[in-house]
Symmetry: none
């Protein structure tokens, strides 16, 4: 079940979380290492990672006592498609655009 656009965009709206995503672009990281550059508690970063996980933007896998965080960039695809629609489609085709989104996006259980 793909997380809704609500959850994905809300996850992206925080600068700490966007920085974390950029960090994970380079390599997978343990929670403690993700937290290191930030001037906030480990628990706070752990919460941010929870938000990113709920949005499907990262995945977390525990090996031993270390929990590894991995970027899942595919989760950005749905949001990206949604945004691109505003640049690429003619205003005339709203109905068609909406049908397109409907067919393109799975699991979007949002109210209209």
């Amino acid at each position: 079940m793909t997380p809704s656009l609500d959850i994905v965009f809300a996850a992206l709206a925080d600068p700490t979380r966007r920085t974390i995503l950029a960090m994970l672009l380079e390599d997978d990281m343990a929670v403690t290492d993700v937290a290191h550059p930030f001037e906030m508690s480990l628990a706070a970063v752990s919460k941010h990672l929870g938000v990113l996980t709920a949005a499907g933007l990262i995945s977390q896998e525990k090996r031993g006592r270390v929990k590894w965080c991995k970027l899942e960039p595919d989760a950005l695809r749905e949001a990206s498609v949604w945004m691109q629609g505003f640049g690429q489609f003619e205003p005339v085709n709203l109905d068609a655009f909406e049908r397109f989104l409907q067919s393109e996006i799975e699991g979007g259980t949002e109210r209209s």
Copy 2:
């Protein structure tokens, strides 16, 4: 000064606001008309429009007693560029776009 990614993504995180943007894709609208399909007060919709304006996603121009709302899709560019930094997505999802065009051709124009 372009609004920060924080503000833009936060604005996009609400389904009511995304629906408003989709409505404005079709045409400019007055505040009252924007509010019409929603089951909430006019004041609430007015607040949403304020959030979208603060994010630069729409502009509002008052003519007479009517305030017209206009989509400003360029505001999505910065956010779009940020997301594209994560690779995977081309600026346009060409495959999906071609399928969309194909369905357009096959389906004919069934807008009423």
